[in-house]
Amino acid sequence: MLDIKRIPIPALIGIVLTALFVLAAIFAPWIAPHGNGEIVGDVWEPMSATHWLGTDNLGRDLLSRMIYGARITLFIAVLATALSFSLGAILGFSAAVFGGWFDTLLSRLVDLLMSIPTLIMALVVLSVLPTNLVTLILVMGVLDSTRVYRLSRAVAVDINVMDYVEAAKLRGENEAWIIFREILPNALSPLVSELGLRFIYAVLFLSTLSFLGLGVQPPDADWGGMVKENKDGIVFGIAAALIPAAAIAALAISVNLVADWVLNRTTSLKGGRG
């Protein structure tokens, strides 16, 4: 199937790093040297043999916090992406195939939602909603599904006018065959790479919200929240806040590398095997 030697090096780096983050998240309680809320030393201790990344603003082990933070970050981002993706893709495909008022109504609604910057809309909504994980995932998922909707509708509309779809309609095939056998297999590759991009966006969006104090609430902290906790140290020359920030960047870059590769690989085939 897939020959590891033929994967380009950037993609390989991306895959390895992503896998590392995921493993850290899954096995957090076993990997982390200390508990999530455990105070183990002084405030903002520098990096040392006992505390590889030093300690945070309350004297907790930063490495352990990072590992647990990976868990929360990935958990919320994955769920939000799953929600935005299933919602957006199902509605987008349906709009393309059924057309008519259903398509018009949904598309106008999405236009409206997208005419406000996502962050601003999220802030407006979060100003009245209770701050908890469910709200966070719902808000992120629903707001982001507009982009997935646009893409999947556009892809499906393009495919829907292809001669092979017309041939299937002339044959007398029903809507289910047309969506699942004719359109879906051909829409998969752009959607898969979009999945990667949506996930990155979810990570960045969650981090931003948490950084602004509107995401994950203490004592739990995702990486964005950890930046917020430690940001006051920066002016004293303490780089603790930069570590979770860099982790977010590293995660986003590695997923980006993988998504880029998937997109290149599938588009260069122009159909056929793969």
Partner: protein
């Protein structure tokens, strides 16, 4: 200007106004009709029923939603944005100075970012597939993956703390001399520039490449025009519209970036004001500021569309 353009532009502007009205409904609905009672949210779980009822009365929450919406909209249209619940201050007055601050910051970020992005985009096209191009697209990939606060704090860490060139906290006040003000916004403006630069550059590159690959550029080359003249006379006139489009879309993106950057640098602008009041659950402020952000965003998008309409020779010179 010929009639189809005027018609299209008018249509686009009308659509924008309709969109703005719809957005105002959405923002209002988003804060008023969603579960979660504003009064409850302000007073907290321990509030007594009497105080809740009082506050509801005071906020006009007992009236139907559409009445409140039209009252609010009427106020907004006449420049009355209401009063902040948390401080009791007039929102319009508090916003004025902050709006100016935000625009000042965004303006200087744009002044640097736009020409830089276009020049770098052109360089990437000129040396396509060379190392410069690869470096640029690599940086673009990286910077779309960087959260704004990462860029912001790295700047603070080095320029404010380690080297102490610029202040890490951007305090500005009324009557501040221009030079000092510029120094205060140096870091946030740089952060904002970096946030939008890569994306804008990548899109500019794509827009120019798209034009460079068209048949009329080949025609120009086959007439013996120099590479520079091919770009100046044949590629550029057709690339203007897509580039303006790219610039506008990124400026729209910039006003989102401004929210986070202002928080990082504790800069007294609209973004920080918004975030503060979201935390305080001060709904009237959130509505007003949200609407202003949305209005700027929508206007930039309309300008992008209009630029594309005007730059299209098919519309400028109809059959």
């Amino acid at each position: 200007m010929s009639s189809p353009i005027v018609k299209l532009v008018a249509q686009r502007v009308a659509l924008g106004i309709v969109l703005l009205l719809a957005v105002s409904v959405l923002i209002f609905a988003g804060t008023q009709i969603l579960p979660g009672d504003v009064a409850q949210a302000i007073l907290g779980q321990s509030a007594t029923p009497e105080s809740l009822a009082n506050l509801r009365e005071q906020l006009g929450l007992n009236q139907p939603a559409y009445v409140r919406y039209f009252q609010w909209l009427g106020g907004v249209l006449t420049g009355d944005l209401g009063t902040a619940m948390s401080s009791g201050q007039d929102i319009a007055t508090s916003i004025k100075g902050r709006l100016w601050n935000t625009l000042f910051l965004a303006f200087w970020a744009a002044i640097v970012a736009v020409p830089l992005a276009i020049i770098l985009g052109l360089i990437a096209v000129r040396y396509r597939n060379g190392w410069v191009d690869k470096l640029i697209s690599g940086l673009a990939l990286a910077s779309t993956s960087f959260p704004e606060f990462f860029i912001g704090y790295v700047l603070v860490y080095f320029f404010a703390v380690k080297w102490q060139i610029f202040p890490g906290i951007s305090t500005v006040y009324d009557g501040m001399p221009f030079g000092e003000r510029m120094q205060a916004i140096a870091l946030p403006a740089t952060a904002l520039t970096l946030v939008v630069l890569a994306h804008m550059m990548r899109m500019t590159r794509a827009a120019i490449l798209n034009v460079m690959q068209s048949a009329y550029v080949e025609t120009a080359e086959l007439k013996g025009l120099s590479a520079f003249n091919v770009i100046r006379k044949h590629a550029f006139p057709n690339a203007i519209a897509p580039i303006i489009n790219v610039v506008m879309l990124n400026l729209a993106y910039l006003i989102v970036g401004v929210v986070v950057v202002e928080v990082i640098f504790v800069y007294p602008g609209m973004g920080q004001y918004l975030v503060d009041h979201v935390t305080k659950r001060d709904v009237p402020v959130v509505q007003a500021v949200g609407l202003i952000f949305a209005a700027v965003y929508i206007s930039l998008n309309i300008i992008a569309d209009i630029a594309a309409i005007i730059a299209n020779p098919r519309l400028r010179h109809p059959k």
